[in-house]
Structures are given as C-alpha cells and as structure tokens.
Symmetry: C2
Subunit: 374 residues, 2 copies
C-alpha cells in the first residue's frame, strides 16, 4: 500500500477521530498534548481538532509530526462547565463541542471525544446525532477496575438518564455487550443485571421484567446472561457487563470512586506516619506504582455515550494528556472495529426480533441480521 503524496487525508487506513479541544479543566494544551501522545504511538490515527484555530495551530505546531495528522475545524466559542445544557442547545452553534459532534453527524468521523460539560455534551449529542432507531434512552457506559482477566468491567447507564424501564434495560444489555465485544475484545461477554439480591424474586418490578427480557435475548445477541448481580460484583468477576438505571449507576460509580480515593489518601498517610514507614514506601515504590496504574482512572478515561448515530467518548473534565490519550485510544479502537455501525445493526435486529416476538410466537425469523458480530 502506497502512502499518499498529500499529507492530509493521507493513508487510507487512517482512522479519523473528532476531538473537542476545549472545555476541559486543563485547557486545550492538555488535549493537544494528549492527541500528540496518541499520534506518536499509533501511526493509523488522524484528528479533526475543534476550537479556535488561531489558538490551537501554534500548540499543534510545537508538537513534532503532529501537524500532518490534524485537520483544524475552527470554532470560536467554548461550552463551559457552568453552561446549562438547555442554553447550549439553543445557543451553542459556534462552540467547539457542537462542531465536534457535527463532524460525526456529517460522517467525517464515527467517534467523537470531548472532555467538556457532560450534561451539555449529552444534550447536544442527542439533538445533533439523534437516537438510534429502536433506542428510547441513550446510556453512558464506563469501565470499572475488576477482578476479571481483562482488568475492567463495563457498567451502564451511569447517568445519561435517571430512569430506565425493562425495555431500556434490555437495550442497555445489548449495547453494553456490543461495547464489551468491540472495545474490550470479549467475544461473548457475560451480562449481569444489578439488583439488591441475586434471587429471582427480589427487586423492583421493572427488574423482574427486564430479567425475563434480557434472558430471552441472550442467545440471539451472543452474550451470556448471568442474571441478577449485586453491588459487590461491579468490581468482581462474575460478569463483564453490569446493567442498571442511570441513577443507581451514577451513585455506585461515585461511591466506588470516593471509597477508592479515601483508601488512597489513608494509605499515603499511613506511609508518612513514621520514618520506618516512609522508608518502606520507598522500597515498595515500584509495586505501589504498579498498583496505582492498575486502578488509575486515567487509564480507562472515557465514559461512552451509546445509542446514538455515532459514538461519543466523554473524557473526565480534569483529564491530563495521559487521560486524553487513553480516551483517544478507546475512540480509535471503537472506530476501527466499526462499532457504531455494528451497534446500530444489533439494536435494529433486536427491535425487529422483539417485534417478531410480539407478532408471532415463533422467534428468530431474521437469521441474516443475526450474523453480524456486533
């Protein structure tokens, strides 16, 4: 394969990611540093970079080799962390966030990355990219450090919506399984439904209904349904995908993060307590660093918005270059695997199957659609 003589839309294998340079706590410099890291590691990646071009161009030029990989999309305005989603939806046309999503809408990229205001990003994503046919509520999926071989589990929804009925939970299961397959290389993910006990009779009515629904779709959608799981299984090893409503998922996520952060601080204190323990911390430095890396949220930086025409990776607002680069890596993997299209096909197929189940007792009438490994 020949390299193209022009350096822009260059290599045909190149995967383009749409990146919002603005709106993160660390400013555009961190975003540029992050994409530079990714560009350096991965020759097959290219960027559409959204924000004020006069500000971004010099930053990009200072990173060796980066200019060849970036196309600027000038957008003078910025969505701040304080902006209300409703305000951004009405007045956000000239913002970098809007422009970032627009590139996905127009098919210039299939995955977008932003570390801006989550509420505004979700609201804009829904009105600009629109929900996939068959999806009622989009979801935010995150990766959680776990005892599983892959090191992480997928949990969704962690806050796109505060409600979810049984149908929504089924869609989360389908989307979460598809995400685990394409983002984590798990051919047949195990899906669990979060509840307060693992007995079938327990929990809210919508959970019992979802239990039946998800179970009946597992084989067709190529995942294993392990049934109800509990909070302790989120960092556990009984399943790879944890399905829950956005209220519960958000509380669980923040509780886990808060608990981990408290333990980290207490650990640091413990090692500062005596001269002997300070010495010990020096001796254990490499091991402790390894542990830190294992559970470092920056390594799995990126909530993913699922259920839209296109995929949006939401990086932490406070992400540094390492964090941005991790989000870009995830975006690249999803784009390369054709995740957005596969997910759309999977959801459409499920909707058709559900229709089928409703229409006639016979199931599995669309074998063609089931071939897709989405």
């Amino acid at each position: 394969m020949m390299a193209s003589p022009e350096h822009k839309s260059a290599d045909p294998r190149r995967i383009i990611i749409s990146v919002d340079a603005m709106g993160g706590d660390a400013g555009p410099a961190a975003v540029v540093a992050g994409i530079a890291l990714s560009a350096h590691k991965n020759p097959d990646i290219g960027f559409l970079l959204h924000g004020p071009e006069d500000m971004l161009r010099p930053m990009v030029m200072r990173k060796r080799g980066l200019l060849d990989r970036v196309e600027f999309c000038d957008a003078p305005h910025v969505v701040t962390m304080q902006d209300k989603p409703s305000h951004v939806m009405r007045n956000g046309k000239a913002t970098s966030m809007w422009s970032t999503l627009e590139a996905v809408r127009e098919g210039k990229a299939t995955v977008a990355v932003s570390c801006g205001n989550t509420g505004a990003l979700m609201a804009l994503s829904v009105i600009r990219l629109r929900k996939l046919p068959g999806i009622n509520r989009p979801a935010i999926a995150i990766l959680w450090p776990s005892r599983n071989v892959q090191g992480f589990n997928v949990m969704l929804d962690v806050g796109a919506d505060i409600r979810a009925d049984a149908q929504d939970l089924l869609q989360y299961a389908l989307m979460g399984a598809s995400y685990a397959r394409n983002g984590m290389d798990l051919p047949r993910p195990r899906v669990g439904l979060l509840n307060v006990g693992t007995e079938e009779h327990k929990g809210r009515p919508e959970l019992k209904e979802a239990y039946e629904l998800i179970g009946s779709f597992a084989t067709k959608a190529n995942f294993d349904f392990v049934g109800f799981v509990e909070g302790g299984d989120i960092p556990g090893s009984v399943c790879d995908v944890i399905v829950t409503d956005g209220f519960t998922g958000n509380v669980a996520l923040k509780t886990g993060e808060g608990t981990a952060s408290l333990i980290g601080d207490l650990l640091r204190e413990a090692f500062q307590y005596t001269p002997l323990s300070r010495l010990a911390s020096l001796l254990a430095l490499t091991s402790l660093k390894r542990l830190k890396k294992r559970i470092d949220p920056r390594r799995v930086n990126g909530g993913v918005f699922l259920g839209l025409n296109g995929t949006v990776v939401k990086s932490h607002g406070g992400a540094d270059a390492t964090g941005i680069s991790a989000a870009v890596k995830l975006a690249f993997q999803l784009a390369q695997s054709g995740f957005s299209k596969k997910l759309a096909a999977r959801v459409a197929s499920a909707a058709a199957l559900a229709q089928d189940v409703t229409d006639t007792p016979a199931v599995g009438k669309q074998p063609g659609q089931q071939e897709q490994e989405s």
Copy 2:
C-alpha cells in the same frame, strides 16, 4: 449506690442487651467469645443469651467471670441463612432469633443483637416489635468509613425496603440524625440527601419533594440539612448522615465494600511482588495495621434497624468475636443513651408537627415535645 447481693439482676446501672447466640456463620462460640470480650471491657453490661441452653452454658462457663453477667433464655431452634423470611414468620416461635426479639418486646432489654439471616431478622422484627407510630418503612442504618472527624458516616436505608417516598426519606433523615446523635455523640448532625447531582433541580420527583420536607424539619429536629449529596460524599466530609432509599443504599454499600476489598487484595499482591516489596511490607507493618484498623468493617460491625419499638443491631453474618463485641458495644451505647425512647419521641413529635403543618399554616405548636434531645 450499693451492689445487690444477688449476682443476676445485680447492679441497677447494668444495661441488659438481648443477644441471639445462634445463626452466625462462625457459630455460637464466636458470639460467646464476643460477649465475653465486651463483659471484660465494660462492667456495666449484662446479657440475655438466646439459644439452646445446654449448648451455651458450658461455653459461657469456660469464660472467666461471664456466667455472672448472663441470663440464659432457652430456645431450641435456629434460623439458618437459607430460611425464607415468610417461613420464619410462620414457624419461628421456638428459634433463638424470635426469643431475642421477644425479650425486647417484653421490655427486658431495649436493644437486641443478632448475626443471623438479615431478611428473617427484619421480617420478625417488624411483626414482633411493630413499627413506631408514624413510621411507614423501617430502615437499616450502617456506619461507613469517612473523612469526618468521627471517622464514620451514617447511611440509611441500606436495604430494609427497596422503595422510599418523600415521607419515608424524611423519616430516615429524622431517624439517622437521632442515631448519629446518640450512637456517635454528634450533637447536631449534618444530613445529606443522596442524588446524582447537587443542583436543586436534579433527580427524581420524590427527591425534590423530600428535599423540601427535610429542609423544613431541620431546625425543629435539631440537625443541619446540607441538601443533595452525591455518591462520593458517602465516604466524604460534607455530611454525617446520608439519606437514601434501600435499593440505592444497598447497591452503594456493596459497591463500596467490593471496591475496598479489591484494592486490599491488589495491595497485598503488590507487596508480594518482589523481595524488596515484601521487605517494605514488613517495615510498614504497623502503619498498614493502623490503616486496616481504620477501615476494618469489624470495628463498625452492625447495621441498626430503626423505626421499630426497640432497636435491633444486625451484626455481619461472618462476624468473629471482635465483630460481635463491636456490635454489643454499639448496642450498649444506644441502650445507655435511651435511644429507643428518644427516637420514638422524635418520630412522634415530627408526625405531630407534620399534622400541624397540614392542619394550619402555623408551625411549631408543640414546643414541649421539641425539648427532647432525641
């Protein structure tokens, strides 16, 4: 004050705790060892010990000085972890659990301790002790390691019920504040309502309603209402009491426990990785032990059932002697402070005030009832 010549109902200052010797994973020996620890540390404590007397008496006799502090309540049957609550409610009369609660019902003790089957214990507690007038749903409150000076926060409900409306959440706030005041010596606890964001407009409708209700009761009920809090605040320092429904609370509790346990295991692995790190772990042993003690669940062993005529401390099923002793210590402190009566008065007062608010726009008509520091 004279000591009584008989050694049973002896010292009038003695506080009697009703203890279920059976149903824990570690068997009655752990329970007897636990109460022996407590008896040794605290001369003002006495026990009603429920279970097969012929099995328990020799165990108690082997612990020096314990026999004088124990009155046996013979109960031949045991509630196992597998027993369904409905079965125990119908057929549990001869069990040690039933007998333990009966002693509280009859006023022989104000606080009961059991490490048996949670579902059965809750079901039996509700039918035997009955709900306090004005309480719709009883709650289970637990202590959570936190950044606060007292080292722990109270969270409720963590699983007595999977639902809670605004009135229930108000009652949880009142009960949680009362528990923090009497169980943790916080004269004016700060109460937070768990949500997915701290803005007033966020969250489910019942949360917005509860926000108003709890806020309007704060001054009268002698606590500070800090408004909405998030999952990260459960181990944090912005409040002392976290109010939520039993579904969310149970998931949060188990997620936090699971995350802490994962980090603990990874830490142990990290310290085993190289000879240098093994040496480091030896040097840091004291500091690590201090940390472990700080977040050891056994030190705060005991979910407390609130909202009943009497208080029930539910110890972990897997509790060892240290865990049982911690649960007994908590039970003692609650009994000594007259917690059960104070809580009942507080709830009655709140119900009267609410009635008052409903009847006329003027509030605070029962000043006499507000004097109680419950």
